[in-house]
Structure formats: C-alpha cells, structure tokens
C-alpha cells in the first residue's frame, strides 16, 4: 500500500508528534508514504472567509502536484481541515462546470494543472478501511488491556461529505481501538465540534464546547483525536475550560504505536500537553504484562 502524503502545516510545527506517529505507525503496518514535493498550505479554515476562489485554488495546487509527482496514488491527509479542503475541490467541481476552468486559470500562474484525478483520503479512513482492524491487531505486541479510550472524531473528517463513517454517530475508530486491546469508552461526543478557530477569535464560546467534551470524557483514560486542531483545543485549554482533572489526549496513531511496542519517546508523548501520570502508569503496566 502506498499513498501520496500531505502532512499540512501543523504537522511540520506544533503537531510534530502527529506527523512522527503517523509515519511510524503506518510503516509498521506496511504502508509506504510518498510526501508530495513542494506542497503548500491548503488555506486551513482561513481561506474561505477571505476568498472563494483561493479556498479551492490552494488545495488544488497540492492536488495538481500529487497528480504530476505521484500519479495514481490516493492522497493521505491526517488533518481534518486539510482533508476537507482538498476533498471539496473535486466535489465542488462536480457540481459547477465552470469551476475547473477557473481553478486551472489560477494554477496556470505556476504552470500547474488540476485534473481531478487524485482521491483524497483521511488517515482514519485509510486505517479503518484500507488497513483494517485485523491487520492492526496483527502488529500489536503490547496490548492496551485495562485502558478506556474515548474516540473523538471532530467535524470535518465526517461532515459534510459522509464518505467513510456515520456523520452524526461516528464509529470507525471503535474496531481499531478494540484491536489494540483497549476498551472503547461509551460516549456520544465523538462528533461534537471542538470550537475550531473560535478558540482564537471567540475563546469564551469555544471553551463551552471544550468543557462539554471533557466533562463527557470523565472516566476515560484518554481521548484520542485525528486532527491537530481538535487535539490542541482539547489538550491545551483544560484548565480554562474549568475542568477538574486533567484528561490525557493522544493522537490515534500515537496509541497505535504504543500498542505496537514503540516507546513513549518514539511516539513523542513528551510533546503532548495533556498526558497524566495515571495513563503513564497504565501504559507501564501494559508493558510489564506483555514482557
């Protein structure tokens, strides 16, 4: 299995642990990643409030590069906002026949051409669909017994295009968590918005969402995420959200890597902003049990 890889800006900087754990976990699963050369920012959640054409032209540039440099490969994207931005280019071109021409006129400034041939895939889609829980279970050598994990999906991996999961009641992470030997924490906040960029523009409003999510996770050992913005909102503002106890928040591939026997250091667990001693103790117990 091979994919064209679009890490996105966050994974190069503040979410380095997501990039490293994604690469490491996928390598153990026999997946090859070919990073798209010279990729640029997809516009995140800031392009659409500024320019409708730029909203599509920025991701289309990366898609054009992928078509040229990695023909025939699906594009794997770990960030949900980047994923949706790239995905919607094809979707919108399908419903507006003038759009591909406009996009290509813009990309012509750099001699690039978007042909709509790249399939855009979220990391979670690839893990749950292409790789699957059996293949994941086969790599596990440190079962995460006794760990209760709350799957957090956020918004843009699920909506508005419900391609690989139920957009209201997502479940795709559950078989993966179970494959690691951990228990799935039963809650209904997996698809609730984390506040996204409101955390920067209207923090008071975003904190209401974060508090609701953290409160609902009480009793879980960890929340796992599949997006750097969700991760940051849930891990960095726990005290402001008036949350009584810290709740560990990990990226899904970090959890995979730990169950595959990779160390805390290899999964850059030290970069996470919310990892409790209780979780670390449980991880050590899992380690001892499998030794």
């Amino acid at each position: 299995m091979k994919y064209a890889y679009y890490p996105g800006c966050s994974l190069e900087a503040s979410a380095e642990e997501y990039d490293v754990s994604t690469r490491e976990a996928l390598k153990r699963l026999g997946v090859e990643l070919s990073e798209i050369p010279d990729w640029t920012c997809c516009g995140a959640s800031a392009a659409e409030p500024v320019s409708s054409l730029l909203t599509l032209a920025l991701p289309a540039r990366n898609l054009a590069l992928a078509e040229r440099e990695a023909p025939g490969l699906d594009m794997l994207v770990p960030c949900s906002a980047c994923y949706l931005n790239h995905l919607r280019v094809g979707r919108e071109c399908a419903s507006d026949r003038a759009l591909p021409g406009r996009i290509n006129e813009a990309l012509g400034a750099e001699g690039l051409r978007y042909g709509g041939r790249v399939r855009v895939r979220h990391l979670l889609d690839v893990l749950a669909g292409d790789i699957g829980p059996e293949a994941v279970a086969a790599r596990v050598n440190r079962r995460l017994e006794g760990l209760s994990v709350a799957p957090y999906y956020g918004c843009q991996a699920l909506r508005p295009y419900a391609l690989f999961d139920d957009p209201e009641h997502p479940r795709s992470m559950e078989p993966l968590i179970a494959a690691l030997g951990a228990a799935v924490f039963d809650w209904d906040m997996g698809g609730r918005c984390c506040g996204a960029s409101l955390m920067a523009t209207r923090r008071d409003v975003a904190l209401v969402s974060v508090a609701a999510i953290l409160d609902a996770a009480a009793g879980a050992d960890a929340i796992v995420t599949v997006c750097p913005m969700c991760q940051m909102n849930l891990e960095a503002y726990q005290s402001q959200a008036h949350h009584a106890d810290t709740i560990s928040v990990l990226y899904l591939p970090q959890l995979l890597g730990l169950a595959f026997g990779l160390s805390d250091q290899q999964m850059l667990l030290g970069k996470n902003l919310a990892v409790t001693d209780a979780l670390k103790a449980k991880l050590r117990a899992c380690e001892a049990a499998s030794a």
Binding site: A13, D38, C41, G43, S52, A57, R159, E168, T201
Partner: protein, 191 residues
C-alpha cells in the same frame, strides 16, 4: 511594527464583488423553508444574536445591513452540522463564510477587525507558502491593537515553548504562492 505590504489582501473589494457575494449568499438560502433545524443543530447558537434560521429570512428580505451587523456568522466554527441536516440540502456553512467575506469587504470597522484573524493568516500563507504559526500569531496580536490579547495567550505560549513546539515550519516554500495569490486577486477583481 514593520508593515511593507500594500494593503490587506482581498479587501476592500469593489462594489461589483460585494453585489456578487450578496447574491451568492441569498441564492444559497433561497429555498429555506424556515424549519429551524440549522439553529437547533448549531453548537454555537447560544452565543449568536440572530438565530441562523432568522438570519436567512432577513437576508432574503434584503435586510443586509442588519445581517452584517450581527455576530452570528462570525460565530460559525464550520462544524457542518447544519449543512448536513438541512432538509433542503442548503450549503449553510458556505453561506456563513460568504457573509464573513461580505462583512470584511463591507467596511464597517467592527467587522473589519473580526476579519483580521483570517486575513492575517492568509497574508502569512501568501508570504511563507506554509503557515508560520508563531509569526502569524504575533502579527495577529499586533493587528488587533489589543494589548491584553497576547496576555490571554501567554499561558498557552509558555506551554508550547516548554514543549519545544514553537518552532518554525519549513521555509523552503517562502514566496512560492505569490504568483497564485496575485492571479486569484486579479481574477476576483480585488486590487
């Protein structure tokens, strides 16, 4: 602060652009049947002054000024719940973003300030190719002219610093997006 760029990207836009954006927003919600599902689905509705359902109606009635003075669309976090659930299948998240663009172009100073976050972000992308998170936040704080704002973010900044997360992203794409931005700007008719 050294500020060498000509003006904030994409604003102010010429009148034709504003009319187009307004018409686009109205078209998006033309088929609204006022059921209220969008309002009920919105995680941020509690903080809005106009309920989304109500705002669509006002937009269609031509109460543009009242709509643009509202804070409702600025509170959209693009969760796509309303878009997913609207029984008429209307692209409501896109309509919210269109109103953000319109409000930024419309000229009212409160709206312009709210648009700054997005514009500073895009300005950073235009210059660097890949967003430089730290530089962007510094610029944003300066542009907001709010001396208390950076303080609000100091605890987070210190946390990130301690974790070695305030590092610079790749610099190799600096300037790469200049031609694309310029082309889009000329295509959209903004100066």
């Amino acid at each position: 602060m050294k500020n060498t760029r000509p003006s904030i990207s994409f604003t102010p836009a010429p009148l034709a652009f504003k009319d187009q954006e307004l018409a686009a927003a109205q078209d998006m919600v033309r088929a609204c049947m006022q059921c209220g599902t969008c309002t009920a689905s919105c995680p941020n509705a509690f903080a809005m002054d106009l309920a989304p359902r109500q705002m669509w109606r006002m937009l269609l009635f031509g109460l543009t000024q009242e709509v643009l003075e509202s804070r409702t669309f600025w509170l959209c976090s693009a969760c796509y719940s309303c878009t997913l659930r609207c029984p008429r299948g209307l692209p409501l998240t896109a309509a919210m973003a269109t109103l953000k663009r319109l409000a930024a172009a419309e000229g009212d100073s409160a709206n312009r300030k709210k648009a700054l976050f997005y514009q500073e972000f895009m300005h950073n992308v235009e210059q660097n190719g890949r967003i430089q998170e730290m530089g962007f936040m510094c610029h944003y704080f300066l542009a907001m002219h709010d001396p208390l704002l950076p303080l609000e973010y100091t605890p987070l900044g210190l946390k990130l610093l301690a974790k070695g997360k305030l590092r610079l992203g790749g610099r190799g794409q600096r300037g790469r997006l200049g031609p694309l931005f310029a082309k889009v700007r000329s295509m959209e008719g903004a100066s």
